[in-house]
Symmetry: C2
Subunit: 268 residues, 2 copies
Amino acid sequence: MARLPKATPGSRRISPRMPSGPSEEAFLASYDPTKFERLSVAVDVALLALDPSIGFMSLLVRRDAHPAKGAWSLPGTFVRPRESLDEAAKRVLRDKAETEDVYVEQLYTFGALDRDPRTRVISVAYYALIQRELMLQLVTPPTVDVGRVHEPFAIRIRGSQVELAFDHGEMLQTAILRVRGKLDYSPIGYELLGDRFTLFELQQLHETILGRKLNKDSFRRRMLASGQIEPTGELKERAVVLGGSAPATMELGRPAELYRAAPPPRPG
Amino acid sequence: MARLPKATPGSRRISPRMPSGPSEEAFLASYDPTKFERLSVAVDVALLALDPSIGFMSLLVRRDAHPAKGAWSLPGTFVRPRESLDEAAKRVLRDKAETEDVYVEQLYTFGALDRDPRTRVISVAYYALIQRELMLQLVTPPTVDVGRVHEPFAIRIRGSQVELAFDHGEMLQTAILRVRGKLDYSPIGYELLGDRFTLFELQQLHETILGRKLNKDSFRRRMLASGQIEPTGELKERAVVLGGSAPATMELGRPAELYRAAPPPRPG
DNA sequence: ATAATAGTGTCTCTCAGACACTATACC
DNA sequence: GGTATAGTGTCTGAGAGACACTATTAT
């Protein structure tokens, strides 16, 4: 779990003039947790990857139980009493996407009254970012599939447009807007590429996230000056063609240098 | 409630090939909401105002019951089963701050295991912005008082530093960072001023939020070109001094023109 | 008049965008 | 050689920062 706000140890400072009445220890020993009505709390995760020619891709699962049985939804789970929200999100990624050590961040909490037909369910939405190649390996039917999100936020699966269960379409839209908004002021996006990438690949990533073309010269200068990336000295290798004519997508021209994400600056 | 993500009607599209088994209606009629363990869900609100000479101010309440009895905390409440999260936040502002029609936005959801000693409580934190004058009217002891937040995030009440109950100090810190982050790309901040203000007052507000001095000329140009404000043609009136010498804080020099927040651009 | 603040005009520096040019690959 | 992509050098226009100057008030 990365880049969540720092947790500070909870402190319960008591006033010097202790008010009269039973002690806090006695209060806690006799506390009845059912005094206030409790709610179901769920976590749903939008696992995102990016393809330059498609746009955003999100992991979707097909619901095999009521409600909305048969519909597509974001992977999610109910939060257990002994796990934190972040742990629940990680558990979803582990169980339904076989994915660990990805960038995960809390997105927004959805609490409309009628968002789940069963009962009142509060859902804390998370989003996570992985590389396109890892996303494509996750397709393990029948419970897991990859949805392709075209803008403006039409969700397609293998070409045909679908509606997600519950309010998961809104969650997905919010996640994409969050990623786009963070791109300008945050070194986000490197989780979506491999550990080595060319400047043009990075530019294509930014163009896909922002939904518009960027100026090549300016993008190069800005990225090199930002300190977010560093050159490796290596050059991108070409696919070796074993005889026959080259495929239509064969790369041409001078090979590009490979860069990697620079380590964050020392806070000292 | 303003500028929350748009709610879209929840849709539960069912696959054409309906899986076998009981119908969704029959499932919902027999659903047992206690099948998954439920959690307590609370809402806490950081109501913020800004004073040019102090910095951020936040409404704090003194806890009159266990746990953390006697400690200062953000106003909050448990979420009722028949109200949305936004409604709960508005109820907190109405009941504990006698405030309505303010800018309110969801902040972050805190779900650590031990954040409340009673039982497992998930807290959805909100923040709200009001004018300094309205904040100062809210001081109605003994349950309501105004805390003054100095940076870096030391919380003072009438000069002496305090620690807030639970993880409310972290919530307050997160709220201030959110307001600061939104200042650059969003027309935020006008909720913190009256309906008429001078350019210098607006600059002081931005300087307080950002924690650094801004260039006067550049700030004027940027604000006037942004379309976020419009001139009223009125001039700021001076306090009338009824005899005697002028107070030390008397305003001097040419009176400034008053501006107001411009209406948002027509989406057509 | 002097002091103090509001507001304007203009210069410079920085950076994004555009374009020309060189470098290195495959054909 | 031609063509396509990678990378560099330089010009230009927009905007931020700095500074000088004018405008309007109170004392």
